[in-house]
């Protein structure tokens, strides 16, 4: 199905270089841009699997949006004893400033990046929900564009869904929440952000303005884009690629130079949509992940379609005992870390490290979750001209607007290290296109 494409791998990589498809990393305090290694063998998802994933992902994101709305307003799920209060208020992502406010059209997570893996028995598991600034859609977008260019025969008569509609899905969501038909912007911290390529590429393809922090200002509760000749334009929606804490120095981190002063006030007055909303971090906390299946039952009165990886919370006595007794065969995650950091496999720990971690699990129970290691399927990649098997995950993108839609594609990331399960680009991973079959 993709054999012709494989012969053109070098050509695809040359095009990637030509288009500057890079990501940035900081090493030893120095910023470096590097090409994101692309593997031409696609991940192929069957039509049946996709149908199941699609409804499962929509269900999950709808529940997460309902949770966010509830948490910042009535807190029914806490009052009803489904999620412990402590898990909300001790979460770094919970923002008390958002209490009582519902964003435009009631949507909190406009773009959700849901990380999944497929076990060897074919079962799909959710590994993580990313509801703040999930990145990565641009890479399969451009990969499909380039692979179609260099190997059109591969796609002739193929039965895969064309994924080149992501920019349109993005625009539809932005248009839907746009306040007073204002200017639509993607707000980037700048060139030295690791995902800068994506910010600029999405702005190009979605035909919105790429704004830098100094381009925006707030006047009398409204956000404006600073124009030429002192003519400024009202902004209706900001797809921000800057974290909550740096987005408004008047409300959050006062030393932030990346933010727009008083942006939060304009947002709270309902004069601009922030895409994704402030305060979403409370719902994609690794600890809250445990409760998502319960949220689905609570808010939607449905059985969860997609499974969580079996997860244990050491704050519960029974779980803590299990984790302490079985740490050698579990994966331990620090809930405050992201990007593949703070993930430790018990089997790789020395006896001293195991003892240290067990002590921390007892003394800082809230800080950790433990999961069974899912033996997820290896995907073929080409490494130095040879086909080898490597661990890979899938980030699916769910866009919420008038309806909730799943992009029929996704970012498949793989590890290049034979013994590693960590697929993050910041740790040397590569990516593949994700083909979804339409029959």
């Amino acid at each position: 199905m993709y054999s012709l494409l494989l012969k053109q791998t070098d050509a695809v990589n040359r095009w990637m270089e030509r288009y500057g498809v890079r990501f940035g990393i900081y090493k030893n305090g120095e910023f470096k841009e590097q090409l994101f290694p692309f593997d031409a063998i696609p991940r192929i998802i069957s039509h049946e699997d996709w149908k199941m994933l699609e409804v499962g992902l929509i269900q999950r994101v709808d529940a997460l949006n309902a949770f966010l709305r509830d948490i910042y307003t009535e807190k029914r799920i806490v009052k009803d004893g489904i999620v412990p209060e402590d898990f909300i208020y001790s979460s770094k992502g919970y923002l008390p400033q958002c209490e009582g406010f519902i964003p435009p059209k009631g949507i909190y997570s406009h773009i959700s990046g849901i990380d999944l893996v497929q076990a060897e028995d074919g079962t799909w598991y959710i590994l993580e929900d990313n509801l703040r600034i999930p990145s990565g859609a641009s890479y399969p977008m451009i990969a499909r564009d380039l692979t179609r260019k260099v190997s059109p025969e591969t796609f002739t008569d193929s039965s895969l869904i064309d994924n080149r509609n992501y920019a349109q899905l993005l625009r539809d969501s932005m248009d839907y929440v746009n306040v007073d038909n204002g200017l639509e912007v993607i707000l980037t911290p700048g060139r030295y952000n690791s995902a800068y390529f994506e910010h600029s590429y999405l702005a190009e393809k979605a035909r919105v303005v790429l704004a830098y922090p100094d381009d925006l200002f707030v006047d009398n509760g409204y956000v404006y884009y600073r124009g030429l000749n002192n003519k400024s334009e009202r902004v209706g929606v900001i797809y921000r690629r800057i974290s909550d804490e740096y987005l408004d120095p008047m409300t959050f981190e006062p030393t932030s130079l990346l933010g727009v002063p008083n942006l939060f006030e304009a947002y709270r007055q309902g004069n601009v949509a922030i895409f994704n909303a402030f305060g979403n971090g409370v719902a994609d906390d690794k600890g809250i992940y445990y409760f998502v299946p319960k949220m689905i039952k609570y808010y939607l009165n449905e059985e969860p379609i997609l499974k969580n990886a079996p997860t244990y919370l050491p704050i519960y006595e029974e779980d803590r005992k299990y984790v302490l007794d079985n740490l050698e065969k579990l994966v331990l995650k620090d809930v405050s870390e992201a990007g593949g950091y703070g993930v430790m496999f018990g089997r790789d720990m020395s006896p001293e490290k195991l003892a240290e971690m067990k002590h921390l699990i007892k003394t800082e129970s809230r800080r950790w979750i433990a999961q069974e290691i899912i033996n997820f399927i290896d995907l073929d990649i080409i490494d130095n001209g040879e086909k080898v098997k490597r661990k890979a995950d899938l980030r699916a993108f769910v866009l919420s607007g008038e309806t909730t839609r799943v992009w029929a594609s996704g970012l498949t990331r793989f590890t290049r290290n034979e013994k590693s399960f960590i697929v993050n680009s910041s740790q040397g991973g590569g990516f593949k296109d994700t083909w979804v079959l339409d029959k």
Binding site: Y201, E204, R207, G227
Partner: protein, 225 residues
């Protein structure tokens, strides 16, 4: 899908400098070819010192070969061609949504080629692809930029740079005038962005011989943003 069109002063400045640096790379490579052409007839001609004086850069090399190597490839020197090309990229990379990826690709290819040439210490005549890529870039942006203000700002930068270099290298008055005419056209379209009085002073100044240094000062400050 409708377009969101807006240009901030910072973006306008990037567009302008993108035009200037792109033109500077093309024109200086061209000027270098012309200077070294003189050596063909007289190998003792002191072309590099004359070139440095005209460009307003320090004259700090013992011979033409050393000068050329540093002028082309020395990343430590702000005036080197490779550095100018980096400035093209610095501005272009921040403007992808206006230029479009297909246009930006020509800048990527120019810099990749230049970096390889630097490692190989390629000779001047091997750098023609850099000029070709930048010419292709100028063609591509005319095709792909739909925001006419953005395109005009790049072209204002381009013709400020071209006019300045023509003046510095004592080009024929008619050539200078042609370049200024193009510049004036874009200045008149972008009402309020450029200083009309300075534009007039430049136009009047080129008719006086010898031309005063203030012409170049005026040219360099025409763009107000």
């Amino acid at each position: 899908m409708t377009y969101n069109i807006a240009i901030s002063p910072a973006k306008a400045s990037r567009l302008y400098w993108l035009g200037r640096y792109s033109e500077r790379v093309c024109s200086t490579l061209h000027m270098l070819h012309k200077c070294y052409d003189e050596v063909v007839d007289n190998e003792h001609t002191d072309v590099h010192s004359d070139f440095c004086v005209r460009m307003g850069i320090p004259f700090e090399y013992d011979n033409a070969r050393q000068f050329l190597k540093n002028y082309l490839y020395n990343k430590e020197k702000t005036y080197s061609v490779i550095n100018m090309l980096e400035r093209v990229k610095d501005n272009a990379i921040l403007l992808r949504e206006e230029l479009k990826s297909e246009s930006l690709a020509y800048v990527e290819m120019a810099i990749n080629y230049m970096n390889q040439a630097s490692m190989d210490e390629s000779r001047l005549y091997d750098l023609q692809p850099v000029t070709d890529y930048l010419f292709a870039f100028f063609g591509a942006i005319e095709e792909r930029i739909f925001n006419m203000d953005a395109l005009n700002l790049i072209l204002i930068g381009k013709y400020v740079e071209k006019s300045e270099l023509y003046i510095r290298f004592d080009y024929d008055l008619a050539r200078i005038d042609e370049s200024l005419c193009r510049l004036e056209h874009f200045v008149n379209v972008e009402v309020g962005l450029c200083d009309d009085r300075k534009m007039s002073a430049v136009r009047n100044g080129i008719n006086e011989m010898p031309m005063s240094a203030s012409i170049i000062d005026n040219l360099n400050t025409i763009f107000a943003a």
